[in-house]
Subunit: 392 residues, 2 copies
């Protein structure tokens, strides 16, 4: 991004568009540097490519503790690679042929599109949501989309916790997806990269906890594949460490055939082994992060309410979906279309020194919404909010 905000450039653009959590840099850097400066002979040699035994068993351990899978995740079911974007590419590659497609509930994380299409040539086919629930997708809606694209649909891809909403799926909704893929012999890819970043246990006043698909009764576990990594829950986007967890031996074997192209380096195995070794350190870090996310969420929602900005309630990850349709209409009453008005308002925000992601970036059908990331120090976040309000 040109002209980014920093302490020496306070008029620069504050980035609340990229999903980065900057609340725990000090703690995570301390832990990383503990192991990072201790490269050994073995790190110079070719490693195992798909993650060392210790790395994979440590990841399995974390997920078994936090995802509470029905059936324990084994190290052999974990494939480690260079970030979750490449892991979307890889799971798409091994499950599909060029021209195949996955159904995705819209609005959706825009990266799914590029990650599946760029190398694997796999498409996404959006499905809408019910009027009363932004994450609600009925069996009928899925069937309708499927009927139109039967030849190419290979499965469903979701982000849970959801991106852009920052909301967790209910067990009932997940079971709709699970039954559907099972009925049609398809696959469910559940991107659970924000799994450890649930900061509240309610949504719209109702008890709502993160539920991993792995914790449910799966008629065929080999049709459900989850993605996780250190980018979000451990605030390490730049380190490019992701994982695919699959109960399907053929899928894991197929992934390994590509591991040379998407492996993490050997020294990262050493680092991850240290990072994920102590349950106590992990629990402390995760709960500290969740507390900080909750603090920021309370502050930002207080502020939004005061400024009459509608938003969709969130409980996880570190972004939320705000509704600026009214404000945009007031500022640009004569725009050709709501989509164009959104783009013009987005430029206005950039000119006022704040970058948040417009609904178009999530292929939303209804314009006028923005995703705002709130995992930034409050003094910067509140300055960004002022710049947004100034744009109304």
């Amino acid at each position: 991004m040109a002209n980014p905000y920093n302490e020496n450039n306070i008029n620069g653009i504050i980035n609340l568009g990229t999903a980065e959590n900057k609340l725990n840099n000090k703690e995570i850097l301390e832990k990383i540097n503990e192991a990072h400066g201790k490269c050994q002979d073995k790190d110079l040699s070719y490693g195992t490519f798909s993650g060392s035994e210790k790395t994979r068993s440590n990841i399995a351990k974390v997920l078994n503790r936090y995802l509470k899978p029905k059936e324990e995740i084994k190290a052999s079911q974990v494939f480690v690679g260079n970030g979750c974007g490449p892991m979307v590419d890889m799971i798409g590659t091994v499950l599909s042929n060029e021209g195949d497609a996955f159904i995705v509930p819209e609005p959706y994380y825009g990266g799914f599109n590029g990650d599946l299409a760029t190398r694997a040539g796999v498409e996404v086919v959006p499905v809408g949501h019910t009027d009363d629930d932004v994450l609600g997708v009925t069996e009928e809606m899925l069937e309708e989309v499927y009927a139109k694209n039967k030849d190419k649909i290979k499965g469903i891809i979701i982000a849970n916790p959801n991106n852009p909403y920052g909301r967790t799926y209910t067990a009932e909704q997940l079971l709709v997806f699970i039954r559907f893929v099972n009925k049609h012999k398809l696959h469910l890819i559940s991107d659970e990269i924000y799994a450890l970043s649930q900061f509240r246990d309610t949504l719209d006043g109702k008890k709502s906890d993160f539920i991993s698909v792995t914790s449910l009764d799966l008629p065929d576990p080999s049709r459900v594949h989850i993605l996780w990594g250190l980018s979000k829950d451990f605030c390490m986007n730049g380190f490019r460490i992701g994982a695919i967890i699959s109960r399907s031996l053929p899928v894991i074997s197929a992934l390994k055939a590509y591991s040379m192209f998407c492996c993490i380096p050997g020294s990262y195995d050493t680092m991850i082994e240290n990072l994920l070794d102590s349950d106590e350190w992990i629990d402390n870090f995760v709960s500290l992060n969740q507390k900080r996310l909750n603090d920021n969420y309370e502050k930002i929602t207080d502020s939004l309410k005061k400024h009459n900005v509608k938003y969709v309630d969130a409980n996880s990850a570190y972004f939320m979906w705000i509704d600026l349709r009214e404000q945009i209409k007031n500022v640009f009453p004569n725009c050709k279309s709501p989509a164009e008005a959104e783009m013009q308002f987005w430029e206005r925000l950039l000119n006022n020194g704040v970058y948040i992601a417009p609904s178009a970036a999530f292929y939303a059908t209804e314009p006028g919404y923005f995703r705002i990331c709130f995992a930034t120090q409050w003094n910067i976040l509140s300055l960004a909010l002022e710049r947004i309000y100034k744009s109304f």
Copy 2:
């Protein structure tokens, strides 16, 4: 590898098959750890994906000093990614369509095959060599191969210094390749990953120095792309740091479209910036490495001569091509074919505790040769040689 040799398992298999240089671990680890334990805020964030400006300009600086290109290599012509294997995949991907092919002089580095085929679906078509020169390929030989595969040939791929021979190409030979690709509007990929590991300046008694294709008169520089990385010359295989250097803006742009899938992590940018910053440190490291390689080469060739093992003279990289046709025939006089005898002899070597790579791994047309890596401490290397001699 199962049952590897180490100081606690002296009867384990000594690996002289994998191209790893273990002569400078102490020096390189010191330098790596100097920068590696100092991760900063910026390393946690998404980086530039194709290498930071500083990383790319430092790589350009090294190559300008050691490759002596006719036209200075600019940082903007350097694309950095996760190892040279993935970079072969990437350059194959952007220059070709599935089913296309590159001519490769045989025997050749077997990785070219998998790196081009696995994701990109690109083939290699071998061309032989002249009777009097293991690296000699005439225009006529290239034309003959091309005529048979015209529709799919996209160019030529070579390793210079050559793998498996450890020999440098002459300017005259490189010009044969250059003229050929230019005549037919093809591309030359020159993998120069061992460029800084020339340890002697003669071959077969004749003055022979490494010459980069970039140092020659190129009728069309946009048709010549080189590969380099830190794996070999800096003994850092496990770190997965490679680079493509191309004068073609469309090629660099196309590569960038894929950079998300093959980037190096942000903390490695920090590390490389430090590693390649001081010309003095680099020069000292490179000449120390070359001296150590030369010492080992003198020792191993002395030993081979004493044991009547024929070999092809080498001057670069850290392996050589030994001729065991006679010895294999003596041990397995009744084998169905030379190829089968080679495999049986290879198993015999493994059983005797040493792994060297058979000619089949390099798709050689004539069996009975092995590539032996000699960049290992002499006490281990000499033990491995004893195990080889014991197998005769």
